[in-house]
């Protein structure tokens, strides 16, 4: 809006788009010099998706997810017996050979799954943290 008003008060010649471009560039400079926080605010408005409560819930969930999935992953990679029912064993894996290597491999794969899920939750947590900070900025401006 500010840009448009400046272009209206300045004389606009009939021909030559060049002069118009110069005018627009000058007004953009004016805008960027004096109204920087205004532009930033529009950027905030576009990137902000969640409200403060949703972002807080997301952060709590991702913190819990990271910790619990990491610990679960550790327990799976150390082949804990209590978790045997959570491993996708088949009859063949149990009965085939006396060496439990296949079972250990399955344990490890589930463990790595858990670690990858924990990493995804770290990203999710970073996103939620970012949203919370944007929300705080928006609150300060208002």
């Amino acid at each position: 809006m500010y840009m448009l008003s400046t272009s209206r008060t300045l004389p606009v010649s009939n021909h030559s788009h060049l002069t118009e471009l110069m005018i627009i560039r000058k007004s953009v400079e004016l805008v960027s010099a004096s109204r920087l926080p205004f532009l930033n605010q529009t950027l905030i408005m576009r990137v902000l998706i969640c409200g403060p409560k949703l972002a807080a819930c997301g952060m709590v969930l991702s913190m819990w997810g990271v910790i619990m999935l990491a610990i679960l992953g550790i327990f799976f990679t150390t082949h804990s017996a209590v978790l045997i029912e959570d491993v996708p064993l088949t009859y063949k894996d149990i009965r085939e050979d006396t060496n439990p290597q296949r079972i250990y491999d399955l344990y490890n794969s589930v463990g790595y799954n858990c670690f990858i899920a924990a990493a995804v939750y770290i990203l999710f947590g970073a996103f939620a943290c970012c949203q919370m900070r944007l929300n705080k900025q928006k609150e300060l401006v208002h």
């Binding site: 997810g65 029912e85 009965r95 799954n113 899920a117």
Partner: protein
């Protein structure tokens, strides 16, 4: 710190306040919140009290403040966030505040009225503009039609609406009139029909809708309007049309007779509308400025007016003494706070500049004082849940300090999960760390306020749940193997055929090497993999519940001795407490002993021959059981002895106290003499009271008769006492059995919680973990989210509330009915911070 165990000692005091300094003294007392005022004029209605006018003034100021706050809230101005606490204003300053408030009210009222008028004007002008613009289109249409009419003048109109054609009307000399205006769209059809029925063809109505929404001045909502133009012949028709227009609330505007006039009017309207817009903007700015200035001090005024009104209420409760220069107030005050009270009165006198100081005088009373128990932010939560059942009688033992530990413990026995306990404790710790955050403290949300008030309770519950989670070895339904299991499967030495052909195999602890010793803390993790896990845990938890229940109830019975000793009723110790305790311990204490004995004396080797405790317990009552193998030598003899003692304690409990009291009142005459002698010698009741108080301090045995009130010759009602004691006996004896069974809910709820947790893991988390494909990784992320949400909502909130409720019930009913009276009145001090504000209730503050 005896305050938390028993409550403060209270006394009745009289305050003698000089009339000049009464206001300041009461203001000081209100700031401190020390005392509770008693109403000395109970028969006087609210309108007859002395300071009625001042209270009316305060209410007038509150009305204006309410109006101001509503205006401020409407304009979306935020109030300042300072923590202000102004003192109550002196009566001489009140006029200044009142004047300011009235001035503000008048100013705001004027500005608002002006604004409304201007807005109404603007609406009218806008409607007029629309009308002129739209009727121009009608005229253009008819102007186009006119040449056609001229052409077919000889032929009558084909339109049925006119009975006479245009030319014949002109010949009659009837004048053509126009009425134009706006009407709401919902009414236009009815309007048209009414016009047709009344005027029957002498009118022509044309109308068109306005494109934009116009604001309805009455309701403020945007409504659609329709511009209409009525052309009519004849004056009478014109009057009828005008009346119909009035009836339908049309806004009628003068119709311009020519195009030039129309253009002039349109130009004039446009300038006027622009001017009005400017003036309206200025008015709104000015209104906002006024409101911002008012909002800076309105918060202070609200508190000041609230305090002033409270002080006048209290002044109304006081009475004048004979000289009419001094106000007398009766207050309940804790004995330990009387020096503070004196200092407050001195401060008040000093502030008001009075020469004669106000003072306090303690007076004797036979009324029961209210109960005051001083709590801090930690103990107040537990005291609240005890008070919710009943406020303790004056100087009775308060179960709250014990509840601080037993309540979270019993909750944790029912909740018992390490992971859930950690989450609960973290949540409570966050609330505790952020307890000084103003936004958290002052929210309106009722449910959040309930959780926030109980944050220390939730923290204790969480910490205890972590402990019981370790004992039950249950963390999100999985066991933790911290120390290494005490069972070894390899030592069983099963062959490959046994592995392949059997669905279930049993680990036998009698085989060497299978059972290496008990797990150091809690349940062995191997039980998580066992198929008979529930059978084992049920037996363990049921016995544990009974043991905990008997301990809790015995503790309650023992607490009653505190009350008996304090109120100098020593006979209760021998006649009530001892039979009760013997009954409980001889029967159910023996059951606990048998449970513990069986756990200790029998091992895996003789587990096949271990006797059933229940059968032995039942046989104890039936005096049978010769065929059964005894648990220990001498069991039958001991059991008979215990049953005899328990049965004998019942009549002692039933008849002991009434008979003793009867003998006490009617058997010895010397007490009657004592009373009469003292009455003759000392006439003043005050001295008698002081002598009684002196006796109490010395621990005289005659003091327990003073509980019968002022009339020392009151008859002791034996029948009443006997009935009361009979009810108590039946309630106690039957209650012992039912309450012991009631404690089995500790087992039931912990079983439910463990099973729910297991089902949640099996049905949600396992599905995500067993996914084998490459997409299985990403599937685990939403599965965990679902698991987290369900854990919080079902296991933490629902099960948590359920366990909270059951633990509370166990305290209120099974524990407290052994010793607690709970018939007291709570001490409500006069404190400004405790007064509610009607504005907060309306959500304006």
């Amino acid at each position: 710190m005896s305050s938390l165990l028993r409550g403060e000692e209270m006394c009745l005091a009289q305050l003698f306040l000089q009339s000049g300094s009464a206001y300041d003294c009461i203001s000081e007392l209100g700031e401190l919140g020390l005392v509770e005022f008693r109403d000395l004029n109970p028969s006087v209605t609210a309108f007859q009290r002395k300071h009625v006018n001042e209270i009316k003034k305060c209410e007038e100021m509150e009305r204006i403040l309410g109006y101001l706050l509503r205006e401020v809230k409407k304009a979306d101005i935020s109030l300042p966030e300072r923590d202000v606490n102004p003192v109550a204003p002196l009566p001489k300053h009140v006029m200044a505040i009142m004047e300011q408030l009235q001035r503000l009210e008048v100013e705001l009222g004027e500005v608002t009225r002006n604004k409304e008028k201007l807005q109404r004007n603007l609406l009218e002008l806008t409607e007029y503009t629309h009308m002129l613009r739209i009727t121009r289109k009608f005229v253009q249409r008819t102007a186009e039609r006119e040449p056609l009419q001229v052409q077919y003048e000889e032929f009558p109109f084909l339109e049925k609406e006119t009975m006479m054609d245009y030319s014949s009307m002109q010949r009659l000399g009837a004048k053509l009139g126009f009425i134009s205006g706006l009407i709401q769209r919902v009414k236009i059809e009815a309007f048209e029909r009414m016009l047709w029925r009344v005027c029957k063809g002498y009118t022509i109505l044309s109308y068109a809708e306005v494109e934009e929404y116009l604001e309805n001045p009455d309701t403020g909502e945007p409504t659609k309007c329709v511009v209409f133009l009525i052309s009519y012949w004849g004056d009478q028709i014109g009057q009828k049309v005008k009346k119909i227009c009035d009836c339908y609330h049309c806004h009628v505007y003068p119709y311009p007779s020519s195009n030039e006039e129309r253009n002039d009017v349109v130009e004039g309207l446009r300038t006027r509308i622009q001017d009005l817009h400017t003036v309206l903007n200025r008015t709104e700015d000015y209104l906002r400025q006024v409101l911002i200035k008012a909002s800076e001090s309105v918060y202070t005024w609200v508190i000041q007016v609230k305090k002033m009104k409270a002080i006048y209420y209290i002044l109304n409760l006081c009475s004048f003494d004979v000289t009419n220069k001094c106000l007398i107030a009766e207050v309940w005050c804790p004995v330990n706070d009387i020096p503070t009270l004196r200092r407050a009165l001195e401060e008040g006198s000093r502030k008001s500049g009075a020469t004669v100081p106000s003072f306090v005088n303690r007076i004797p009373t036979s009324d029961t004082p209210p109960t005051l128990i001083k709590t801090n932010k930690f103990t107040s939560g537990f005291q609240n849940i005890v008070d919710a059942y009943g406020v303790g009688s004056y100087r009775e033992v308060n179960p709250a300090p014990f509840t601080i530990i037993t309540f979270p413990f019993l909750f944790a026995v029912m909740f018992g999960d390490l992971g859930h306990g950690v989450i609960m404790a973290v949540f409570a710790a966050w609330m505790v760390l952020c307890e000084n955050n103003r936004k958290l403290k002052n929210t309106r949300n009722e449910i959040w306020n309930t959780f926030f008030e109980g944050r220390y309770i939730i923290l204790m519950m969480g910490l205890f749940s972590i402990y019981t989670g370790l004992i039950y070895n249950d963390c999100f339904s999985k066991s933790l193997n911290i120390f290494g299991s005490g069972w070894s499967v390899k030592a069983m030495g099963w062959t490959k055929e046994q592995w392949e052909n059997n669905r279930f195999l049993t680990l036998d602890p009698n085989v060497t090497g299978v059972f290496k010793g008990p797990y150091p803390l809690g349940i062995d993790p191997i039980w998580n993999l066992a198929s008979n896990r529930l059978t084992f845990l049920n037996s363990y938890k049921m016995k544990m519940s009974v043991i905990l229940g008997i301990i809790h109830m015995s503790f309650g019975v023992i607490l009653s001795t505190y009350n008996y000793l304090h109120f100098r009723k020593k006979y209760n110790l021998y006649l009530v407490f001892l039979p009760e305790l013997l009954f409980l311990l001889c029967l159910f204490g023996y059951l606990v002993f048998m449970i513990l004995y069986k756990w200790l004396a029998f091992s895996a080797k003789d587990s096949r021959h271990a006797p059933s405790i229940l059968i032995h317990f039942i046989n104890m009552f039936l005096m049978q059981g010769d065929g059964l193998q005894p648990l220990y030598p001498g069991q039958t003899g001991l059991q008979i002895f215990l049953v005899v003692i328990a049965v004998l304690s019942v009549p002692v409990l039933l008849l002991g106290k009434p008979v003793y009291l009867y003998w006490l009142h009617n058997g010895s005459h010397r007490l009657g003499l004592y009373r009469g002698y003292e009455r003759v010698r000392r006439n003043s009741e005050e001295e008698l009271y002081l002598m009684r108080a002196h006796d109490m301090e010395e621990g005289s045995s005659h003091s327990d008769l003073s509980s019968s009130g002022e009339n020392p010759t009151e008859e002791f009602d034996f029948a009443d006492e006997l009935l009361h004691q009979a009810i108590h006996t039946i309630e106690y004896c039957l209650g012992c059995v039912s309450n012991t069974a009631s404690y089995l809910r500790l087992w039931a709820l912990s079983l439910a919680h463990a099973q729910l947790s297991e089902v949640l893991w099996a049905m949600v988390m396992r599905v995500g973990l067993r996914m084998d494909s490459t997409l299985g990784v990403l599937f685990l992320v939403p599965v965990f989210g679902l698991f987290a949400v369900l854990t919080v909502s079902i296991l933490l909130v629902m099960e948590g509330l359920s366990a909270f409720l059951h633990a509370l019930r166990l305290h209120w009913v099974e524990f407290q009915n052994k010793f607690y009276g709970g018939t007291g009145v709570k001490f409500c001090p006069f404190a400004f911070s405790l007064l509610p504000s009607s504005f907060e209730h309306d959500g304006l503050l």
